[in-house]
Amino acid sequence: MVFMIGRGIESGLGQGLGKLMNLGMGTEIIYSFVIIFCSLMIYFATKELYKLSSHKGIKYFRQSFLFFAFAYFFRSFIKIILFYFEINELRTFLPIFGSITLFIFMYFSSMAIFYLLYSVMWKKWESKSINLFHLVSLVIATTISLFNNSTIYFLINILFFVFISSTVYLSYKQSKKNKSHNLYIIYLLLFVFWIFNIIDILIPNYLQTFQLFIYLISLGIFLSILYKVIRKTG
C-alpha cells in the first residue's frame, strides 16, 4: 500500500516536472528570472548612491524596480500555476487564492509604474503625496481582483496608459536636455510593454501570438536600463 502511494507521488511529481519543463514554461521561467535579476541588480547597484545623497528621485527610481521585481515574481507565480494545472484562469480554479494573488500582482505592478513616473516628476508633484498613488493602486488592484470582466480590464489599462503617456510626453516637452530623449522613449516602451504583460495575465491567450515578441522587447528594455545604470554606477 505504502509502496503504491509512493509510486503514485513519484509519477505525479514526474508528470508535474514534465509539464514545468515544456518549452512554454521554460521560456516563462527564463524570462521572469532575467527581468527579476535586472530589477534587483538596478535596486542594489543604486543603493550606495542613494545612501550617500538621500536624493528623492533616486529613492523612487530604486523603489520602482523593487516593485517590478515583486510584480514579476507574482506574475511568474501565476503563470506557473496556470501551466501546472493546465487552466486558463486562476480565479475559476482557485477563487479566493486567485483573487488574492491577482490583487497583489496588480498592486505591485501599478506601484512600480507610479514610482518610476514619480521619480521623474517628484519635483513638480511634491504637493501630491506618493500615498495618493498607493491609494490609486489599491483601487485598481481591488477592481481587477473583484470583477471578472475583460472590458473593465481594458478600460482600466487604457486609462492607465493615457495617464502615463500624457505625463511622460509633458515631461519630455519640458525637458531642456536633448540627450535624455532616449530615456523617455525607453520609459514609454517600458510602460506600453508592461501593460501588455498585465493584459497577458488578465486575459489569457489574448496576446498569445505576440507573446515571444512582447517578451523579447520587455527583456531588451530592462537590459538597456540595467546597462545605463551599471555604466553610471560602476
Binding site: T46, S54, H55, G57, F61, S119, L183, V229
Partner: protein, 87 residues
Amino acid sequence: MVKRNKLEIIKDILKIIKDNHSIRPTPLMRMSNISSHRFKKYYLELLEKEFIKEIFGKNKQIILTKKGYRYLEKYSAIIDFIDEFEL
C-alpha cells in the same frame, strides 16, 4: 550666478574640510558662502549622516569621516546618474 543645489552645497562644504584637513566651524561657514541659518541646517545634517566628525581639543575642529570622503569620490557619479535618468 547659478543657484547651487543641496548636493552641490554639501560637496563644497566637504571639499573645504578635505582641503584644510581640519577646520573650525566659523571659517568653514564663511568659506561655504551660505547664510548662518542654512549652514547650521547643513552642518547638523552632515553630522547626523556621519559625513563629518567634531574633534574637541583646544578648539572645536571638524574633520571628514570615511563616508565624507566617499561622498566626494562618488559626487560625479551621483550627479551623472540624476542627470541620465532625469531624476
